[in-house]
């Protein structure tokens, strides 16, 4: 299939195929590794989840209002989210373990996945 192609052409195609195959591996990994694949970062699974969430964040004893929340996390305090809820929770944990690591933070996330009963997730540190 590459016999008519110039050598450099072939190298490009091999590189492209490697990229595609890497994605295939990532898709398989996301499903096989239940724990680490739960956030579905590289699974080509966009818009497969219907998540209505609201988040309450208390930082150093101060309950953040909507504007403060948005400035801190660059997320709406309540919104509709179409990726796995694990990704949202992972995002918040990553923020708190990096930019927010010196703060005393308490997070309460309420979300409904696909119209099922609400789930409450709590997390705090500091």
């Amino acid at each position: 299939m590459l016999s008519g192609a110039l050598p450099f052409d072939r190298l490009r195609v091999y590189a492209g195929m490697a990229l595609v195959l890497a994605q295939l591996g990532a898709v398989v990994f996301a499903h096989v590794d239940v724990k680490r694949g739960a956030a579905r970062y590289f699974a080509w699974a966009p818009n497969d989840y219907s998540v209505d969430y609201s988040i309450r964040a208390t930082v150093n004893g101060h309950l953040l209002d909507a504007r403060e929340f948005g400035e801190r996390y660059r997320l709406p305090e309540r919104d509709f989210y179409e990726d796995p809820p694990q990704r949202l929770l992972h995002y918040l944990r990553r923020y708190e373990s990096t930019y927010g690591r010196h703060d005393r933070t308490s997070l309460v996330v309420r979300y409904r996945l696909d119209g099922h009963r609400p789930v409450v997730w709590r997390w705090s540190h500091g």
Partner: protein
């Protein structure tokens, strides 16, 4: 700068570079859509990077400006047919770096847009392997697998909860059917379509059908959600299908009637922007427009659709219109219907022949 060199800068020229004409066209269209939809302003300031060192590349504002600048320079080079592969690679890296630099900006549609440009840069002009075919197959494989693995997709719970966020009247429509029948049905249509596309894309002779099904499926999603393009997904996926087209290896011969106003206007409009000689217009006594493409003859509406299918200016206009007013996107169905009609009534080459790219001679001048 002489005339020939100037002519090579024409954004509507798609041949004479190291890229296949339709791949270059697709890349230009997607870059144009990014610009018209204003997404360049949305490029991120680094924040919670997935790759740590990206968070230390300049200040957030400098990083954002740098991405914008690289995008603009690369897009300009691409539109002007200069260093096209490098331009595509840079455009791709802008988006890939963007998603890796900001967890806030991480979206599949943006990542896919970046990968499209990277694959356009890597696509082998003389290779019979189409990277885009395999890329789409992997994408649909992942999408179908994830949906099939989720019980909420299989029993309709997802669609029942998700669709009202876009189509407020959906609960009323769904209530016309027993229980979750409609929601379950829509979910299974999505899953079966995506699974089928994997097969269609992997079998070369079915690629034309895959193009038809794929564009129709994604346009259907945009229609159902009343104009939501899923970020850049509709634009990037449609561009990918353009990159999969089998481009004519000789000028499209169009027989038209000079006594018919519609024919004359169409010919004038297309010929005005046909800088590379993609068409040969022959005035004849015909009742219906006829278009001959690599051995296959189309008539009437099918011929008109084929003329548009290989017309860069038509794509550019449609891209600008769809980027500006996504509610127009469902008109794509009209075009698909015309293509399908033309395919079923045409004469000549057997239907659904292999669409493996033959790497034939380029059309038109170089430069």
């Amino acid at each position: 700068m002489d005339d020939r060199r100037l002519a090579s800068l024409n954004p509507l020229r798609i041949s004479g570079t190291s890229m296949r004409p339709n791949v270059l066209l697709a890349a230009k269209l997607l870059a144009l859509c990014v610009l018209v939809t204003g997404r360049i302003r949305g490029l991120p300031y680094h924040f919670l990077p997935l790759v740590a060192f990206l968070g230390r590349v300049g200040s957030p504002r400098e990083f954002h400006r740098g991405l914008e600048l690289v995008f603009l320079v690369a897009a300009l080079a691409l539109f002007c047919n200069q260093f096209v592969r490098t331009a595509c690679l840079l455009l791709g890296l802008v988006f890939v770096v963007a998603v890796l630099s900001s967890a806030e900006y991480w979206h599949n549609n943006v990542l896919y847009t970046g990968l499209f440009f990277v694959l356009a840069a890597l696509d082998g002009a003389r290779s019979r392997i189409s990277l885009f075919r395999y890329q789409l197959a992997v994408l649909y494989f992942g999408a179908a697998w994830n949906k099939l693995a989720l019980s909420d997709w299989r029993d309709g719970a997802f669609v029942k909860d998700w669709l009202p966020h876009y189509f407020h009247g959906y609960p009323h429509v769904a209530s016309l059917f027993p229980d979750t029948t409609l929601s379950t049905g829509l979910g299974w249509v999505a899953m079966v379509t995506e699974a089928a596309l994997v097969v269609l894309l992997l079998v070369p002779r079915f690629v034309p059908l895959a193009i038809f099904v794929g564009v129709g499926y994604h346009t259907g999603l945009v229609t159902m959600t009343k104009g939501w393009t899923f970020g850049m997904f509709w634009y990037a996926l449609t561009a990918t299908y353009v990159a999969l087209l089998e481009w004519p290896t000789a000028p499209v011969v169009v027989r038209y009637s000079p006594t018919k106003l519609v024919h004359r206007l169409g010919m004038a409009a297309v010929e005005r922007f046909d800088f590379e000689g993609w068409y040969r217009w022959l005035p004849e006594r015909v009742d219906a427009l006829q278009a001959r493409v690599d051995g296959a003859t189309y008539e009437g509406v099918g011929a008109g659709a084929r003329v548009l299918l290989y017309c860069p200016i038509a794509y550019a206009v449609f891209a600008v219109v769809c980027s500006s007013w996504p509610v127009v996107i469902p008109f794509t169905f009209l075009f698909l219907a015309a293509i399908a009609y033309g395919e079923f009534v045409r004469q000549g080459v057997p239907r659904f022949r292999s669409s493996v790219y033959a790497g034939g001679p380029r059309i038109g001048g170089g430069g």
